[in-house]
């Protein structure tokens, strides 16, 4: 049970992200059936119309099963945490509001599955979809608000409906774009989907306005609280999504004279999916941090952010245990610790309080960031050199990641072998140490696979390890959150990590686009410069990273 509680915080966010995505795909697929496939099928030749309807129903089936699985896991996790921490009986835990909301969602998903299998008319699934959204919103944060509950419930409903219309419909749209039909039919599907996407954007924006008024409340809360900073990052990725959407809109409405637009459209939709998944990751995190409006005290000021953003000479030497306590810094941290001690704090089960950090921890962490940054800089510059196609040696850049893997292996757990006294196998009993060692192994696997790709050619399946790993990294960076009680230092750390996550997502999309387009395409020629530049940007953030 202790191990479970240790993992609860992480699992709850990941499962909530999965739940948000699955629900959106189900709702988006239902909307795809009701507002796109059904009306359009009648105007298409019989075979094509049947194909379009089957596509929508297939997407509903996928969305339905995914929703059932994700909601079951997510609500089951919460119920187990209640049982484990309060000693409740299973039935008592099952009576919690979030479990009832989850049961409502699962009942609707099951009904949608039955209707989609039966090939029913589009309107019954649509009614079921609306009921599902109502059940989901009943378990959202708006339900727990002490003030303005109804307006916030409405904002949540509109926002999630908008996300479903646009992002949730993407899988069905992508499947439809892959069907073997004439370009004119694909264009008709795309044009109709554009309408759904525009309506979705309107819903998302309307919901965001509500969220800003109810949950953020002031411009200062945008940069001064974790909720605000994450919302801003989500908005940046939303802008990337809008750019991709605009590109698709132009492709469909301006450049669709022949069939050449179709492959490019598919690639952009795939990138929309990658960014969309990461946006759902942030959304899941946002639902689990306190709204900025609820944290009027202890916010990070603009001056503090500016002070932290001033570059400082990177650390080239690592502190040892004998370096403990750089006097002035330690005095400053002690003062902060005394100040924080008087505030009531909050944490999730399995998580501990945030004890005061000392100068050793900060110096250790900064050194780790800086050295990692130099490795990533070397990778980025080598990849840029490789992009020129003039430096043959540069194609071996993935091997530089081996240095990063060795660095992570050696320094991630200072108390364990090889730095500390705990033996290698003994240290693996600590899940965190095990996680770090696995991470080092993953970096090795990633480096070797990408190196082999560079040696053999880019279009093998192994080539996609890189963009997928970058997207996964970006997702996890964006999906993790800190600073329940607005601990300033944790938020300042978070402010530096959010751009890292966003840059990783952009790099992932660029590499994906390059791979999918092939070397001759215009977008590939641009993309092959974009992702190395993202790596250089990431390296700069790491090299000048500061924790004090």
């Amino acid at each position: 049970m202790e191990l479970f509680l240790d993992l609860y915080g992480f699992l709850s966010v990941v499962l909530h992200a999965a739940e948000l995505m699955a629900r959106s795909v189900l709702l988006g697929s239902i909307a795809f059936l009701a507002f796109l496939a059904a009306p359009l099928a009648g105007r298409l030749p019989a075979g094509e119309g049947a194909m379009l309807l089957a596509t929508a129903r297939r997407a509903i089936l996928w969305g339905g099963w995914l929703t059932l699985g994700a909601v079951l896991c997510s609500s089951g996790l919460g119920a187990l945490a209640l049982i484990g921490t309060l000693g409740l009986g299973a039935w008592q835990a099952a009576g919690a509001g979030f479990v009832l909301s989850a049961l409502g969602v699962m009942a609707c998903a099951a009904a949608a599955l039955v209707l989609a299998r039966g090939g029913a008319r589009p309107w019954p699934p649509l009614v079921i979809g609306l009921l599902l959204l109502v059940a989901a919103v009943a378990g959202s944060h708006a339900m727990a608000r002490t003030e303005d509950r109804l307006p916030m419930l409405a904002a949540t409903f509109i926002h999630q409906a908008g996300a479903a219309l646009w992002l949730g419909g993407l899988p069905a749209f992508l499947i439809a774009l892959r069907l073997p039909w004439p370009p004119a039919t694909a264009q008709a599907v795309g044009a109709r989907y554009s309408g759904l996407a525009v309506a979705g954007v309107a819903g998302i924006v309307a919901g965001v306005v509500g969220y800003y008024l109810g949950y953020v409340g002031s411009p200062e809360a945008i940069y001064g609280t974790a909720y605000g900073a994450m919302s801003a990052t989500k908005s940046v990725l939303f802008a990337v999504l809008l750019l991709l959407g605009l590109a698709n809109f132009l492709l469909l409405h301006r450049f669709a004279g022949d069939g050449a637009f179709l492959p490019r459209l598919r690639r952009f939709v795939e990138c929309e999916l990658i960014v969309g998944i990461c946006v759902f990751g942030i959304a899941a995190s946002l639902t689990s941090v306190p709204p900025g409006a609820d944290l009027p005290d202890d916010r990070v000021s603009w001056a503090e952010i500016q002070e932290r953003a001033v570059p400082r000479m990177p650390r080239f030497t690592s502190p040892s245990h004998a370096d403990l306590g750089i006097p002035a810094l330690q005095a400053q941290l002690d003062a902060q610790a005394r100040e924080n001690a008087e505030r009531p704090q909050a944490f999730i089960p399995g998580e501990g309080f945030l004890p005061p950090r000392n100068a050793f921890d900060i110096a250790w962490s900064e050194y780790n960031h800086h050295m990692s940054g130099f490795v990533v800089l070397a990778v980025g510059l080598a990849a840029l050199a490789d992009a020129t196609r003039r430096v043959a040696l540069a194609r071996h850049w993935p091997l530089l990641f081996m240095g990063l893997a060795a660095f992570l292996f050696a320094r991630s757990d200072p108390e364990a072998w090889p730095m500390g006294d705990i033996g290698f196998f003994d240290s693996l009993r600590d899940p965190e140490v095990l996680q770090h060692k696995l991470l080092s192994l993953l970096v090795v696997v990633f480096a070797i696979s990408e190196w082999l790709v560079r040696l053999r050619g880019k279009r093998s399946a192994a080539a996609y390890v890189f963009p997928i790993a970058m997207a996964l990294g970006g997702f996890l960076l964006l999906a993790h959150t800190h600073a329940i009680a607005n601990v300033k230092e944790a938020l300042l750390v978070e402010l530096s990590h959010l751009p890292l996550g966003a840059a990783a997502v952009v790099a992932s999309c660029a590499r994906w686009l390059e791979l999918r387009a092939g070397p001759g395409a215009a977008e590939a020629r641009i993309a092959r410069w974009v992702w190395p530049l993202c790596l250089v940007f990431i390296s700069a953030l790491l090299i000048f990273y500061r924790e004090a």
């Binding site: 209640l82 309060l86 708006a142 727990a144 501990g352 780790n368 990692s372 990533v376 899940p431």
Partner: protein, 129 residues
């Protein structure tokens, strides 16, 4: 499991390759007002507890405990559950402890907000004559 301080640099280090990162805490329910306040001194005897949150709570699945503060913290064996008042407002937990002897104490609270998020926290206070 090592404490958060030990974990922090390691967690931050994981950002470098951006493949895996353990999250820190997330929670929606936070305290707006507490009686006794963190660090407060109260008289010996039963202590009335009142915690005001920013979220509506599921009172049937929330709890208050009181326990002596021990050096080094940790452990729940000596936590005593405080019965919640029947008339708690939607976003509050209220209760009264048994008589507390002079010393350092902590309130351990755990709430389930209506949005399904579980949050815990401690409020240290001192009982002194």
């Amino acid at each position: 499991m090592s404490d958060f301080v030990r974990a922090m640099p390691r967690r931050c280090l994981l950002a470098a390759p951006m493949i895996l990162l353990a999250p820190a805490a997330q929670a929606h329910a936070i305290i707006r007002h507490a009686e006794p306040a963190a660090g407060a001194r109260v008289s010996p005897g039963p202590v009335r507890l009142r915690l005001v949150f920013n979220s509506r709570l599921d009172h049937g699945r929330s709890a208050l405990f009181v326990a002596p503060v021990r050096l080094g913290g940790g452990g729940t064996a000596d936590e005593v559950r405080v019965e919640l008042a029947a008339d708690c407002p939607a976003a509050e937990l209220m209760g009264t402890t048994d008589a507390l002897a002079p010393g350092n104490w902590r309130i351990r609270w755990q709430v389930l907000a209506l949005d399904g998020h579980i949050t815990r926290g401690d409020i240290p206070f001192t009982v002194a004559a």
